[in-house]
Amino acid sequence: MKKYLLILLFLSIFILGAFLRLYKLGEAPKGLYIDEAGQGYSAYSLIKTGGKDEFGKFLPIIFRSFNDFKTPVYIYLIVPLIPLFDLTPFTVRFPSFLFSILTFPLLFILVYRLSSEKIRLPLSFIATLLLAISPWHILFGRTNFECNVALFFYLMGIYFFYEALTRPKLFILSSIFFGISFSAYHSQRIITPLTIAFLFYLFRLQLLNKKNIPILLASILLGLLIVYPTLSIASTPGFLSRASNLNIFSHSNSLPAGYIENLNSPLSIFANNPIYLTTKEFLSLYFHYLTPRSMFNLGDYGPRSSFPSLATFFIWQFPFYILGLFRIFKSQDLGSLKPLIIFLLFITPIPAALTRDPYTTIRALPLVIPQLIIISLGLIYTYNLLPKIYKRVSLIIFVLVAIHSSLNVYSSAIVLNDFFRAKEWDYGLEEVAKVISSHKDIPIIVDSSRDDYYIQLLFFLKYDPAKYQQENFEVPLSQYYTNLYHNPTKKIGNIITRNIFWEKDLSVDQILVGDELAISKEQIENHKLYLIKEVFYPDLSTAFRVVRTNPEYENYQKLQKLNSQTRL
């Protein structure tokens, strides 16, 4: 009976977590961000052109996209979904959802496996429940971000490593999953090798046992084989572009944080010393991932990696986080979990702290695991301290708080996010694509002075990738990973994405598409343009305007101007 109750409890948690991620998947957030569309269209191109991306590269190791060279795993995961669900926002966000919910049972069995017998059951359940309602994990389970998939494979690698300590053949599986996680996201390129080194050091005596060495060597070779394609391009500008642009050690484009400008004094050698400033910068960014202010109040500063009015953790979890921290460092009865959680707590923020952006939750997603487990430990510790008479009441309160938190996620992630952040998710382009798709006989210029909208147009128009490859040239395929040139002009049939040149473009009968800055009301009025469609954000501000030029009026104006100049 008790076993069935436990299964029922787990299923309830699973269904809750799945619902919070599946409800309006593809519709909320409203819009489709450029990176999401890019990954979706790359997958679409792979399936339509026999394995070539939109640039014509066959089975890329990393995807060029907008010269940000995306990791490949997520894109290849989208490929088999396109025949099932077609090319839609739902399709491109589905792998995130799937691997997000698969992380629940994985976390459960990992915590259960590693914890001491005294706490394994409550800790597993609480940690899984907290993950199911975690705003941090939910956000990346509802949107197209590679980090969620990478986290799943990373945890699989850790789980099978521990299982392999008693069944050595499972080292093969651990190696495979670690290898996939390495290729799945940029952060894992740092934390996966560090984790392997840590686990190896922790269990070195057992691993270097003569019986285990052959399987260990085979696992290492297999892992290297999986990561070899990624490593083979590790020195190319394409592979390094992301790291070199964002890392705090690169001062080619910006001075170190805290640099005192115009300091003409001998103190400058010390005050503006790059090692001192960079060390300080790194530590400030690093501790920013561990400080309660980021976790419980501010959250991620990026509008697409946070929900309005909601941080990465709920405020009520704060006191349990502090208690849990004491518990994890002081307790001796936590089993194998303690060293792993302490390691993850300190190591997982490192890749994110090496970049300039403060508290980027996408790069530090693995940190959610140790922090949730620490909070869970705090909860259990508090529960154990309570007198018996209050224990049942505290359970009821906990359930009510969990329900309130779930409603809070709905409030922020669905209601407020759609209203306040639609612009950040490039809302409106689907409607623009519908409008311009009915004008196939006239040239269309889509302004790209502020943003590259071509990829969303390709996505929503489901434009033939083979045709796109023929119409557009970026770089020779032999320079796919090395040449960082980006062609700002794209051709999609009768559509061209480039800057609008008002002098020239108004004299030609064509359609212009742009945001409110590109095509203002004054310009429509002054040039007597025909407004075909105005697309609005949910807050009723203008997202895009689709207008048709009036060359007759424009030419007449030019003639008038010429005549008046001649008279003078």
């Binding site: 103190l267 010390f270 400030s284 202010r293 980021s294 501010l298 500063y301 009015s309 409603l407 407020l416």
Partner: protein, 286 residues
């Protein structure tokens, strides 16, 4: 003083590091503001220091010194009440605590109307309009009211202040990388490298003598500061308890094996020198 003997060694290195820890925040404050403000805002910290020192000598009546804080700075009106309430739960002498709580309540009642204007409790029209706007976005009015109401306006401000005050980046990196824009000077308070002894000390806080008094005062101070509209400058009150934690951290570092102690000490000395030179360079440049 006795409490210093608890953590002071006949060790020049320790004295130098301690001096660096004790001087940094007051020096920074003085250089950024003026002598008068420095004296006004440092006085409550000195009061706590005297009180704590005397408590360490088992002169428990010295707890009553905390009652003087609201008279030095009216923004600290609730500190005595909160402090004595927490002490009530941990102290054996409940009668003294009840007496002190009663006196602090009288002090509050005499000065509350002025204090209220400095707090986050008055709600502006803009805040109300924003909340109303959000309410209309929900399909279900009950969920709307659950998350958008007057209490949520006050709580948002409270949480903002509270978490800023418990943010370790506040004290060691002047809130960097998320500095508070507008009404905060974002002063560096301790050399950043002292975050190491601070965290070591925090984990081992129960080893500090009268650690419960420190925690009680920190909690009381942080809660009071969190309900202020502007806590900048007033948060100087936290200077002494945090410094005690750092000094205790030094003690733990000094007790480690040479293999651990020496690299840590080298790092601490080196970066402390850089921090002070940076401080002087910055003010020289202004």
């Amino acid at each position: 003083m006795k409490f210093l003997k608890e953590i002071t060694f006949s060790n020049v290195q320790f004295l130098l590091l301690s001096t660096a820890a004790i001087s940094f925040w007051p020096l920074n404050f003085y250089l950024t503001n003026n002598l008068k403000d420095t004296l006004i805002f440092i006085t409550p910290s000195v009061i706590f220091l005297i009180s704590y020192s005397l408590i360490s000598k088992n002169i428990s009546i010295s707890k009553s010194l905390v009652l003087t804080l609201p008279f030095i700075n009216p923004n600290l009106l609730l500190v005595p009440f909160l402090f004595y309430t927490i002490i009530f739960f941990i102290s054996k002498n409940k009668i003294v605590s009840i007496f002190l709580i009663s006196v602090s309540l009288i002090v509050i009642s005499l000065n509350y109307s002025n204090f209220y204007k400095q707090t986050i409790f008055p709600i502006s029209n803009d805040d109300l309009q924003n909340t109303l706007r959000k309410i209309y976005l929900y399909e279900d009015i009950y969920i709307a009211r659950l998350f958008q109401n007057k209490l949520s306006i006050i709580l948002d401000k409270f949480y903002f202040n509270f978490f800023a005050l418990v943010d370790i980046n506040n004290y060691f990196f002047n809130f960097h990388p998320r500095e508070i824009v507008g009404e905060n000077q974002n002063l560096p308070k301790f050399p950043f490298i002292f975050i190491i002894p601070f965290l070591i000390s925090f984990i081992n806080i129960s080893k500090i003598k009268n650690w419960k008094i420190i925690i009680a005062f920190l909690l009381a101070a942080i809660l009071n500061l969190s309900i202020l509209k502007k806590f900048d400058h007033v948060d100087f009150l936290l200077f002494i308890p945090l410094t005690i934690l750092i000094l205790h951290g030094f003690k733990i570092v000094f007790s480690k094996r040479r293999l651990v102690k020496i690299p840590l000490l080298i790092l601490m000395f080196l970066f402390t020198v850089f921090e002070y030179l940076y401080l002087f360079a910055k003010f020289q440049n202004l």
